[in-house]
């Protein structure tokens, strides 16, 4: 810091000044009401105020740098807030500090000057505060969003721990033609996930489910899922949880973070014991004598940190339209054992839902799987629209507006329902539910305007 003028003669950095050189001194009027917010009236801008303001704009040009340690600097700032109180409360009560009094002798024509200076000081401080607030507000309006997003994306914010894997281009290529509706659906779904991930600093990985010869050749259609999850895990080495989402899903609430909505309270919301809701009638827990205690207990080890696979069940059993898998050795093993030629050779006729059935099978027959799997009540991550799992509105399965469900999975819409129509409907609905105050204000203003404008016309007509 360079010194633009000579430092104060006093060791503590201030106290004595020559009155003629202080900004407020020349113009002060003997105004006693320096406690009123603005002594010059609503529009009063005194030269002193302008001066003070311009002084501010130029920053804080000159302070003694002699005691520039943290304490002396902050003390200066802190003590700067004091005089107004003391002046305000002290003088009217007739109380005069000894030191102050002693000083008062030196600058004897004090009162008018003193008051004027005090006011300008106050004004100055106030305007400085005001200016800072304005700056902060403008800064917030312009950069606030990006600052928050950057924070969430940073290692501190925890957003990088989550990756959304979104399937796209299902059976694209040879098998199926994509029409305008399919394109629209895909574009919108991808936009939706990106918008959500942006909000919270997550990553989105759009994976291509193109029908590949190598999968159909080995009877492995739709097993790409496993390979794609593995690939994504390799691609995002810093991420912890991977959220698989089918294309026919719509995130309704952008304001729910995965941390708050799910992962900070896994203990409370998941169930480990499949008997709680068991549409597949899986015997649980396994009772074979040769198994260890954890494998034989209905809740596994009951520790939320051991959960590696988080999914929900619908009326037909496991649902893999929306599930979470954590990066771990266990997950590696699960992904590795998920497809096996010997098992699939025996079961490919039966396993209509392919990888979903295979997972159910593994869960049922291999005790090592169970302890790390936890189930969420369906509507936490996988609300169904009416038409999936029955037409009547079942509050355990179907989207509930009143509860502002997180996400809708239009499961099975490709079988006799209209995927794009459903997605469009939920998109608009989400938009309506999540109007910002700005949108609302615009709408209200529009309303007022419309109310006002026809009235004006009527007047003209009259």
């Amino acid at each position: 810091m360079s010194l633009s003028r000579s430092p104060s003669p006093h060791p503590a950095g201030g106290g004595w000044t020559s009155p003629g050189l202080t900004p407020g001194s020349g113009s002060s009027t003997p105004h006693s009401g320096f406690l009123t917010p603005n002594p010059l009236g609503a529009s009063g801008i005194s030269w002193a105020a302008a001066k003070a303001k311009s002084d501010e704009v130029r920053g804080y040009p000159s302070f003694s740098t002699r005691n520039s340690g943290f304490f002396s600097r902050s003390r200066r700032q802190l003590s700067a807030t004091l005089p107004s109180f003391r002046l305000g409360s002290g003088s009217p009560n007739g109380y005069v500090d000894k030191d102050e009094f002693g000083r008062g002798r030196h600058i004897s024509p004090a009162t008018g000057w003193r008051f004027g200076f005090g006011r300008s000081l106050l004004r100055r401080r106030r305007s400085r505060l005001f200016f800072t607030l304005i700056l902060l507000l403008v800064g917030y309006l312009f950069f606030g969003g990006s600052i928050i997003q950057n924070y969430r994306r940073s290692p501190l914010g925890g957003g990088r721990k989550f990756v959304i894997i979104l399937e796209s281009n299902i059976e694209g290529g040879v098998m199926e033609w994509k029409g305008a509706r399919e394109w629209a659906l895909e574009r919108n779904s991808v936009w939706n996930k990106n918008r959500y991930a942006n909000e919270w600093g997550y990553e989105v990985e759009v994976v291509n489910m193109l029908a590949k010869k190598r999968y159909s050749h080995e009877w492995r259609e739709s097993w790409e899922k496993v390979d794609l999850i593995r690939e994504t895990m390799r691609k995002h080495p810093e991420a912890e949880w991977f959220w698989w989402l089918d294309l026919n899903t719509w995130i309704m609430e952008y304001s729910y973070s995965l941390q708050e909505h799910l992962f900070d309270r896994l203990d409370e919301i998941v169930y480990r014991d499949i008997s709680v809701y068991n549409p597949l009638n899986i015997t649980h827990p396994p009772r074979e004598v040769y198994l260890d205690e954890v494998s034989r207990s209905p809740n596994g080890d009951g520790d939320a940190s051991s959960i590696q696979l988080l999914l929900s069940q619908d009326c037909g059993g496991f649902n893999l339209g929306s599930f979470f898998i954590k990066r771990s050795l266990w997950s590696d093993r699960l992904l590795d054992s998920w497809w096996d030629p010997v098992m699939y050779e025996q079961k490919h006729m039966e396993w209509e839902h392919k990888e979903q059935d295979a997972l159910e099978y593994l869960y049922e027959t291999q005790p090592w799987v169970r302890n790390q799997v936890a189930f969420l009540p369906q509507r936490y991550i996988n609300s169904f629209p009416p038409g999936a799992c029955g037409n009547e509105n079942d509050p355990t399965v179907h989207y509930q507006e009143a509860d502002r469900d997180f996400i809708v999975n239009m499961a099975g819409c490709q079988f006799g329902r209209d995927c794009w129509a459903e997605m469009y409907q939920y998109r608009e609905y989400s938009k309506q539910l999540n109007k910002t105050w700005w949108d609302r204000m615009k709408e209200r203003l529009n309303g007022y305007y419309e109310k006002f404008y026809p009235a004006e016309q009527e007047e003209q007509e009259q």
Partner: protein
Amino acid sequence: MQFALPPRKTPIAPPYARSSRFSLQRRKQFKAVAILSFALLVVFFLLSQLFYTSTGTAAVPVGTPDVVIVTVLDRVRFSEGYTQKIVKNREDYAKRHGYTNFFANLSDYETTLGDAPKSWAVVPAVRHAMASHPYSQYFFHLDAHALIMNPIKSLDSHVLEKSRLESLMRKDVPVVPPDSIIKTFSHIQPQDVDIIITTDNEDMSPGSFVLRQGEFAKFFLDFWFDPLYRTYNFAKAETHVLDHIVQWHPTILARLALIPQRVINAYSKDSSAAGADGTYKEGDFVIRFVGCDTDTKRNCEKEMDPFYRSWVGKTKIE
């Protein structure tokens, strides 16, 4: 415009003596707050450490055997005398090195196995041993029709020690002889190994292997024991399934060390399918009479007898 001094520091503003007094006070406050928060942090840190250790892995009870030898005995088919010989041989060995034995009865797993070949019992038996010895590290499955011929060798120094295992591990060789295209990983480290096994002339040999307790073991055993494998009519039942899963599932292969056959799995002369340099020689750790129970022309008791007597002689001399 130039001003001589910052205007706020006027006499009317708090006199500096006062302000300095205040700053002194404030400084003291700052100090106090700093010290207090530091102390609080230390306390929290210590507490968290305390609770971390208390919620960490449970301490291993004193006297827990490091190695458990798992044997599946068929008491129905084989005479009590024969079974006793096997038991005696293994108990002597366990006593020498502070290990323990887990003798499983084939009949215990019959309901689980159903129609599948009885040789499958090895898988639930090892799982059972792990459940009943949750703090032991290594589980050495040795087929019943085998004798420990060199009981001086402890399993630790003979196989498990890091440097020893490092020198034994066969890297980048076909996992299933003679020429599987799947080869053992060349970069595998001894500390990553969870299963130590050998191959004979034809297959992996589940008659003698060492498995380390842990998540991998559960996965490996449960996966190996999957009902679809058991019903698939593999000609050699669990042996072929083992060949299959090791070749198709790299997460298993990544934890597997192949070691030379004779180290833990020497075959007797009459056994078929011993690998190159897999036949028992004097001084080897174990001898197995492979196939003596399935081949109708052979007799396990007779084959074992001379070796049992020689073992008894040896233990008496010592």
